[in-house]
Structures are given as structure tokens and as C-alpha cells.
Amino acid sequence: MTTKDDSRQSKAGTTCDTDVVSGECSPAEGAVGRGAFALLGRLMAPYRPLAVAALVTLLLDTIGTLYVPTELSALLNSAIGAQGMGPLWDHALRMLVAAVVGSGSCVASYFLAARLAADVGRDLRVSVYRKSLELSASDFERFGTGSMITRTMGDANVVQQTIVMCFVMILPVPVIAVTSVVLAWGIDPAMGQVLVAIAVAMTVVSLVAIRRSAPIFLHLQEFVDRMNVRLRETITGVRVIRAFGRERRERRHLDETFEAYAENAVRVNLIFSVADCTTFFLMNVVEVLFVWLGADRVGVHAMQIGSISALVQFAIILLFFMMMAQFAMLQVPRALACLTRATELLELEPSIKDSVREAPAPPAEELLANERESPVAEFDHVDFRFDDASEDTLHDLSFAVRRGEICAIIGNTGSGKSTIAKMLLRFHDVTGGELRVAGRDVRDRSLADLRSRMAYVPQRAWLFSGTIASNLRMAAPDATDDELWHALDTAQASFVRELPQGLEARVTQGGTNFSGGQRQRLAIARALARKADLYVFDDSFSALDYKTDAALRHALSSELGASARLIIAQRVSTIRDADQILVLKDGRQVGLGTHDQLVETCPTYQAIVESQQRGGDLRG
């Protein structure tokens, strides 16, 4: 599959100056669109009550947090005023209530925030996955598998964690600022003003600190990535490195990468330490300021001596949360970049939609008759061109695949063989001409109907984790065990009989616990388990040795005699018995006929045959 994309990409690369080699931009560079916030809004919308509840509890929490020192100093004041134990009990009770409400709300708000974030994260993941299923093959390739996995897993994680952080570390700041100023104002308006001044000054300092450290912090991620890339390179290339005796060079490169990372990590740590220490120093200055000014205010009867400690507490709590928020803010740009990337994906219109041109269906009998008479699939002057290409990948193809016949396609890659299979399944749509399946344009059929008529063996035999049975039943959910065994036997996958668990044998992710040839035969068996009008084999015999290949072809012709078969192949020996062979060259149809006809008439085919007789494969 990669080769196809490559040829397409390099084509695009030569015609216009697109960035073919470098990967996608890092979050540091990616512009954060308004889309990020819109998406966040959409994701949060269903959980508005949850979000509101989390905010309310957060508010109660901060009020409690600040009310405890307020009451404590009030208690101190009444003790100084020698008003007896009565008021003391009163204040202690208030403290208790504030503690219970505050801490209870705090736990509740953390619970709600964790839940909200998890739900939003899940929805983001699920909608990305849902979208991936809607995308056509070329839409999906625009992002690539690796990037899609990151979008589904990593990005959602970052968003989720950032939401939690927002609730725990960032959102409390404004709430605390307002509440503490209000409470301080209540103690003494003058001191309230001082606190406002401090809060404003601190906000300015924080914002400056964030602005300066955010780029360095994001930069660090690049060094981490570099370390990963270099290590992977060194490990996967260990044979080549040793073969060329370049161990010392690789070691030097690794060390350079490690050093660059360490240097930057130390710098980031230093920045954090300085921020930490600065906040510490500010706390000291603020405390001294409050003692000095507080004593002055006590001296003019504006407030009581015990309130000084409450004010100091307010300031310290405020500074502490501001510092935490400062660290948490560094996460925000990353989360926004993730959301932007998600928006870009979620807003993409799939280039293939389920039966867009809902054509009126002809009367039932006519339809049936039509279906029976028409070829299973018919290419009528079909062109195909990738969005970003300047040339047709396939040009003016006209041929039909009929019941009981084998149609084979041969040609070099870049000739577009696999694209033909993908068009039949409507992974791609024609860009010219018409492709009819059982007499109707594929675009007039629902995807489900269209694909249910076909059984497809992909070029890359891919199995899913589970069991052999669960893999085969993907194609035929209701198949009995006997039917599955039959499919396996036809596909020459008798090795399954030797497995202790037979059909229930475990299959690991991608089927990697089976050899390439075994995987290919299992993928064939999967397709055979389905009763279909058309069986599409996309270069599906490549990993088989000649003996198995031949036996399989014999079995297939007796088994699928009544259905149509489309076989895309590289080896002439695989297709020489086909009823018709389509020869492709650079996306054009240069020959159509039987082996014997083509050997006589088609130079391209002759060349292929010649090259393979000299140098066919020999795989044991």
C-alpha cells in the first residue's frame, strides 16, 4: 500500500512545491484556530450541568479555604478582647462548617472535574474514530495512520489532562482572587485595596513568565522527540551500523542528542526554579508588607490585630495558586494545538458519501432481471485522478467482470492495479466515466449494499486480534464452524487444523503470530467465508510459494466457479488461466484478452512474461 501513496506523493511533490518530506508541524508552530475553542464548546455542551456543578463546588471550596483563616483570626480577636469562651465556640463552629463545606466541595469538584474531563476525552476519541470510518481512503491517507492514532489517543489524553488541570489549578485563581479581596475588604477596605494591588502585580509577573517560558517548554518536547527518533534509528539499524563499522559515529550522535536534551532540560528546570524562588520571595515581601501596614491600621482602630494573620494567609494562598496556575498554563497551548488538529479532521467533508445521488430504483422485477443480465462489475471509460495529482492515475478503462469468469489485472505499480480494486469497493470514486456494479452506478448504491456483494482480500493481509473464527466471521457473521473450516481448507490454510485450539486459536494484533504466507491464506479464507458475487484478490498470492499458489487456484476454481473473480497479480503464472487479462501500463489499458492472445499481440505483456521466465520468483 505504501508504494501507491508514494508514487502519488512524489507526483504531487514534483508538480507543486508541497512539503513532501517533513512531517506535520509541531504544536509549537501550529496556529491555534478559533476552531479549537468552538470544538471545546461543542464537546462541553452536553455536560453543561456537570461543568456548572464543578464550578459551583469549586467556588464553595475556595470560599471555605479562605473562610477558615478569617474565622480563626476572628477567634483570636475575640480571645484578645477577652469576651469569654462563648464567642470562641461560635467562631470555632463557623470554622468547622467552613472546613466541612470547603473540603467536601473540593473533593466533589475534583470528582466532577475528573468525570467531565474523562467524558470529554472519550467523546473526542469516539468522534475522531467515527470520523475515520466515514473518510475515504485518500482522505485518511492525508493524515496517515500514525498521525490518526496520535489524534485518537494522545491528543485526547492531552485535552483530558488539561481540563482536569484547568479545574484544579487554573480556574481557582480568579475565584480565589475575587473571594480573598472581598473578605479582605470586609476586614478593612484599605487592606482590600492592597491585596488588589498585589493580585494585579502578580498577574502581570505571571503572564510575563508564561510568555517567556512557554516557547522553551514546548521546545523541550522536540528534544524528547529527537531522542526517541535517534534511539529507534540506532536500534533498528544495528545490523547496518555494525556492518559499516559506524558504532562510534552513532554513539557520538546519540550522545549529542542526549546532551542537547540535558542542556535544555536543565534550562527549563532553572526557569521553573527561578519562578518558584521568585514567588517565595514575593510571599515574604507581601507578608512583611501586611504586618507593617496591618499594624498601622490596627493602630488607627481600623481593624484588629488578629486579622493580620488572616490577610497574610489570603495573600499566601493567592500567590501559591497563581504559581500552580503558571505551571499549568504551560500545558494549555499544547491542548489547544491538539484541539485544532482534531477540528481539522472532524470538519473534513468525506470525499465519498453514502449514495449521494439517490436514484429512483426501477421496478423490482426489472431490477432483478437487469442484475442477472448485467456483468457483476463493469468499467465504462473510467478515469481516476487523485485530488492533488495533475495526471490521471487510471485513464479510460473499459472492461467487464462477469459471473463465472476470472478477470486478471497485471502491470507494474504506479499502473494503478490496486486502485481498481479500491474503486470497486468505493474506497475511491471515479473521476470520469462510470463504474457499474450489477447494472447500476456504484454511486447510486448504498455502501452497505455495494460492499455486501463483494469479498475482498487486501494486498496486505491484515488480521485483527481475537481468534481465527472471529476474523473469519467478520466477513460472514452467521457462518457455522463447518463453513469456516471449509473456507480454510479451500484457502489451503490447513495449518489451522494442526493448531491445538483450531478455530479458537488466538490471533494477535495484525496477525503477527502467523507467518506472512499463513496470514495471506487466512485473509483469503476470510473472504471465502462470505458468499459474494465478486471476489477481489489484490495481489493476494505474493507470499505463497508456487505449490500452494497452484493448489489454491485449483481449489478456487472449483469452489467459486459461479462467481466472478478479479485477480490482481504480479506473477504471470498466477493468472495465465484467466478468462481475460487486463494489462495496465502507467494507468492505461494496453491489452485485454487471454494469455495466449496477449502473448501474441501485447508488447507490454510480452515484456512481463519474458522478464518472469528469466527471473520468476522462487520462494520456498
Binding site: 495512520t145 484544579v168 545490523r239 563499522g245 469479498a455 494484533q509
Partner: protein, 590 residues
């Protein structure tokens, strides 16, 4: 959990060579900082009492009071002095430590990069690359996370807590007892919750891993899912796992964040009771205003670290376990060193390669090759055929000494390969594998990998000989195109052509080639074939052959099965023999 925490700590200590002074200096600063912090409440008690006395004196004289340098101002600034001292010590340890952890990690990482070159291939073949990478990145990150702040924070927290309790005893024993009780309770609580949190995070990680695997699988196989109309089922299965992950994640996040407020609640409860008691003492006149506040300052200072201590202990354990995983890597057996006085290969090298009674098995007790004998004469082309797992790669592994033979000898021009240095041996071979390894660098750098000082002309000449020059020129930056990790712009076949160019430029005496199988299209395959034919000219070559033409033309065919060579000879000899090779060959025309 670390297996042997003490040993891990000792090794970390050793690895910190050159940076230990930071730890020592930081510890001294940390202790001084704790002393300073514990001293401040005493000073503020004195300060508040002093100010209160001045204020009361003014009030008694019917005057208002204002702080000035003479009346209290000096004492207030004294508080700033004490705090500044504490701040200096704190900043000192923070700044000194900010470089410690990453430098320690750098030392360990450098040890790893040195180790990587000495690990036998068996180590890499038995593991996913990700596993080793994770040891060097994630595991060491855990170490630095703890070393950075955690270690000293733990020290400071413990000292502060103990110090605060001791200082409080000088004020009132009952108050101290109450506080100590609350602190002990909090500590126990965090222990319990921390264990639970650990489990919750573990579970989240497991679910995450499962979902990741599923998503990866579904994306790779999405054509199959769509072809068989399995979208809904697949979506449902992802939804289920995503739901489970959300629940597990929410629970883990909640547990992790909920400890702090619960502990704060306990401490607030203690404060309420202590406030009542202290208030009574104040009423009785046994406690001054300043001292009342000092008690609460100690409570704040002492309880603040409580929420962190047990979390830090968990992190510490995780870090030690991470360090152990790195040490495990560093403790792996290394390849046996080259002989002290290695022999040299004759100059010029003729390229006669012989296997004499070679025995080998990947695992002891599981012999694969029992008795392999073969001779490749100078300039001969040797084709190796056989099914996957028949031992074709093993032969190459032994030839290049990626693995060592268990018995017998491999000689080149009569010299035992074990008596020369590995680098000399490998220099004499060129190797083109199917899994074409290119590194992140320009195309020119990749081609020149075997001859670092090659000129651009030489690079281009090699590329031309390997039929890849044309392709390179179609790229926007030509030979200066940087190949990225996935290098999607370069197809599998083109990658192999680049590796052939690389081998071409290195101009080795002997060759090892692995022919491409299915991922390459016919046209590229023809280029590869021609390039391979060109490079094999006049060189002793070992070819893992998939193409019949290569085999038919070979001077010697080795048919391998279950690790052993079961037949060898020329095409005609083997056909005449009517054995496995003949059977394989005939099936082509069946």
C-alpha cells in the same frame, strides 16, 4: 516497586559522580532552610507581641499608633531579614539541584549509548525497539522527576514536620499532641490512598494500552473493516473501550487529586480544636497573641508537606524501579571482546569464504545448524534458498559475526573470522538487506554512510550505478532531501536502491544481498536486479534469493531447511539430484 532499593540507590550514587557536590551543597542549604523556616514563627511571635505591646501602649495613652523605624519598623524589617535568609537557602538548593537530575541522567544515558554498541545482536533480536527506548527515556524521566524536586522536598518536608512538632512542644504539649495525631492520621491516610491510586493508574494504563492497540489495528486494517461492512461493530468495540478508559481515567484522576483536600480537611479539624484550646490559653493569659499565631504557623508549615510526602515516596519507588530497568540494560552480557592482537586479512583480499563444521543455535541446547560446510570461491555467486525460518538469515548472522558460532570455523582467505577484529571483518563485506535502513539525514549522507569522506561526485556515481540517480533528481531538494523517520516520500523499492548505492560506494570485497520480495513493483524490481548484478560483479556474493534467475545463474546454491543446509550445488547438479530443490523448481511449472 524496586527489587533491591539499596543497590539501586548505591548505583545511582555512583552514576552521580561529578555531580555529587550538588547533592551535598543542596542538602546543607535544605537543612539551613528548614532551620530558618522554623525560626520565623518564633520571630513573628516576638514581632507581633512587640507590636501589640506598642499599640496597646499607644491606646492606653489615647493615641493612635503608626509603625515607624523607631516604633516597630526595625523589627518588621527584621522579619524580612529572617525570611530573606530562608529564601536564600531555599533558592540555593533549588538552583543547585536544577542541574543535578538531568546531569545524572545524562551520565546514565551516555553509559547506555556506549552499551548499545557492545550488546550482542541477540539482545536486539529478542526485543521490540520500543522497550529499550522506553528504558532510556520514560524510565530515566521518572528518575529525574524525583531527583529534581522530590528528593529534597522529602527531606525538607520530613525535617519541617519534625521540627514544627518539636517547636510546638515549647508552647504547649496538648496542642502539640493534637497536631501530631492529626499528622499521623493524615500520613496513614495518604499511604492507603496512594496504594489505591497506584492500582487505579495501573488499570488506566492497561485499558489505554488495549484501546491503543485496537485503534492502531483498526486504522491499519480499515480497508478490511470497510470492505466487510464491519464499521458498526468496530465502532461499538472502540466505544466500549473508550468508555471503560473514561471511567478508569476519571477514577484515577480523582483519587490522585482527592488526597490533598482530605488531608487539608483533617488539618482544618485539628485547627478548630487547637484554636479553641489555644483561645482558652490566651484568655487565661498563658499564651500571647504572637505565640498563638506562631502555633498556627507551625501547623501550616508542618501540614503543608504532608500531602506530598507519601506521593513522593511512591514516586521514589517508581523511580528506583525505573533506574533498575536501566541498570538491567547496562548489565546485559556484552559481545566477547575482539582478540587482543587481532590478525589482519590478507591484502588484497581474494574473498574465499569457507564454513567448516559450523554448529550454531540461538538458544543453548537448541542446535539449529548441526554441521554446516561450504566453500565460496573468490568471485563466486552463492544463492541461498529456503522457506522463512529455514536459516538463511542465520547464515548471514554468522558470516558477519552478528552471532558467534558454537563450534567449527568460518574463514576468509583461510583466516578464522574470530581471530580478526569485527570491524575488519565487516569492512570486507557490503550488505544490502530487505529491510532497508536509512537514517534521518540527507540522501547524500545516507549513501555516503559507508564512506564518510566521499565527494558529491562519488555519491552521484554510486547512485547512478544503483539506478536511483534519476529518482533522487525528481525530489525538490535532490541529494540534499532530508529523509525523515517514516520517509513516506521514498518507497520501499527506492529505499532498497539507496542502500545498494550505499554498498556500491563502500566498495567492499564481498557482498551480502537480500532480494526484495513483494513490496516492490516490477519496474523497480528490474532496477534492483540490474543494480544488484552490477554490484555483484567480481565479488564473492551471498544472496538470499527469491528470484529464479538469480538462483539459476548462481555458482553455488545452498538449499536450507530447519537451520541446516540440506543440499548444495549448481542449478544443473541439483536438478539432476531430484531432491528438494528440484521439487521446488518443478512446482513453478506445475
Amino acid at each position: 516497586m524496586p527489587h533491591d532499593a539499596r543497590a539501586a540507590v548505591l548505583r545511582l550514587w555512583k552514576a552521580a559522580a561529578g555531580e555529587r557536590w550538588r547533592l551535598a551543597v543542596a542538602t546543607i542549604f535544605a537543612v539551613l532552610y528548614v532551620v530558618a523556616t522554623l525560626a520565623t514563627p518564633i520571630y513573628s511571635a516576638y514581632l507581633i507581641d512587640c507590636l501589640w505591646a506598642l499599640i496597646q501602649a499607644s491606646f492606653e495613652q489615647g493615641r493612635t499608633f503608626a509603625v515607624s523605624w523607631e516604633s516597630g519598623g526595625a523589627q518588621v524589617l527584621g522579619l524580612l531579614g529572617v525570611w530573606t535568609l530562608a529564601w536564600l537557602f531555599y533558592s540555593g538548593q533549588a538552583l543547585v539541584m536544577s542541574g543535578f537530575a538531568e546531569r545524572l541522567n545524562l551520565n546514565l544515558r551516555k553509559q547506555v549509548s556506549r552499551k548499545i554498541n557492545r550488546l550482542p545482536l541477540a539482545y536486539f533480536d529478542a526485543r521490540q525497539p520500543g522497550e529499550t527506548i522506553s528504558r532510556v527515556t520514560n524510565d530515566l524521566d521518572k528518575v529525574s522527576e524525583v531527583m529534581q524536586r522530590g528528593l529534597l522536598q522529602l527531606l525538607i518536608s520530613t525535617f519541617t514536620l519534625v521540627g514544627a512538632v518539636i517547636m510546638m512542644t515549647t508552647y504547649d504539649l496538648a496542642l502539640t499532641g493534637l497536631f501530631a495525631l492529626a499528622a499521623a492520621l493524615s500520613f496513614l491516610l495518604t499511604k492507603v490512598v496512594a496504594a489505591k491510586t497506584y492500582g487505579a493508574f495501573d488499570r488506566r494504563q492497561a485499558v489505554m494500552g488495549r484501546l491503543s492497540g485496537k485503534v492502531e489495528e483498526a486504522y491499519t486494517g480499515r480497508a478490511v473493516i470497510k470492505a466487510f461492512g464491519d464499521e458498526e461493530k468496530s465502532f461499538q468495540s472502540i466505544c466500549d473501550d473508550a468508555e471503560e478508559l473514561a471511567r478508569a481515567g476519571a477514577f484515577a484522576d480523582f483519587l490522585a487529586s482527592a488526597v490533598a483536600p482530605v488531608i487539608r480537611f483533617l488539618m482544618r479539624l485539628a485547627q478548630v480544636v487547637i484554636a479553641l484550646l489555644a483561645g482558652r490559653l490566651l484568655l487565661n493569659g498563658t499564651l500571647s497573641v504572637g505565640r498563638f499565631q506562631a502555633v498556627f504557623q507551625y501547623i501550616t508549615e508542618g501540614s503543608e508537606p504532608l500531602t506530598e510526602v507519601s506521593g513522593t515516596i511512591n514516586l521514589l519507588q517508581g523511580a528506583l524501579a525505573g533506574a533498575e530497568r536501566v541498570f538491567f540494560l547496562l548489565d546485559q552480557n556484552e559481545v566477547e571482546p575482539d582478540p587482543k592482537e587481532p590478525l589482519a586479512l590478507p591484502e588484497p583480499l581474494r574473498g574465499r569464504v569457507a564454513f567448516e563444521h559450523v554448529r550454531f543455535g540461538y538458544r543453548p541446547g537448541c542446535p539449529l545448524m548441526k554441521d554446516v560446510n561450504l566453500v565460496a570461491e573468490p568471485g563466486q555467486k552463492v544463492a541461498i534458498v529456503g522457506a522463512t525460518g529455514a536459516g538463511k538469515t542465520t547464515l548471514i548472522n554468522l558470516l558477519m559475526r552478528f552471532y558467534e558460532v558454537d563450534g567449527g570455523h568460518i574463514t576468509i582467505d583461510g583466516v578464522d573470522t574470530r581471530s580478526i577484529s569485527r570491524s575488519e571483518l565487516r569492512r570486507s563485506f557490503g550488505m544490502v538487506l530487505q529491510d532497508s535502513w536509512l537514517f534521518e539525514g540527507t540522501i547524500a549522507q545516507n549513501i555516503a554512510y559507508g564512506k564518510l569522506d566521499a565527494t558529491r561526485d562519488e555519491v552521484e556515481a554510486a547512485a547512478r550505478a544503483a539506478h536511483v540517480d534519476f529518482f533522487v533528481r525528481t525530489l525538490p531538494q535532490g541529494y540534499d532531501t532530508v529523509l525523515t523517520n517514516d520517509a513516506e516520500s521514498v518507497s520501499q523499492g527506492q529505499r532498497q536502491l539507496l542502500t545498494i548505492a550505499r554498498a556500491m560506494l563502500a566498495d567492499p570485497a564481498m557482498l551480502i544481498l537480500d532480494e526484495a520480495t513483494s513490496s516492490v513493483d516490477t519496474r523497480t524490481e528490474q532496477y534492483i536486479t540490474r543494480a544488484m548484478e552490477a554490484i555483484m560483479e567480481d565479488r564473492t556474493s551471498f544472496v538470499i534469493a527469491h528470484r529464479l534467475s538469480t538462483v539459476v545463474d548462481a555458482d553455488l546454491i545452498l538449499v536450507m531447511d530447519h537451520g541446516d543446509i540440506i543440499e548444495q550445488g549448481t542449478h544443473l547438479e541439483l536438478l539432476a539430484k531430484g531432491g528438494r530443490y528440484a521439487e521446488l523448481y518443478q512446482s513453478q511449472f506445475a
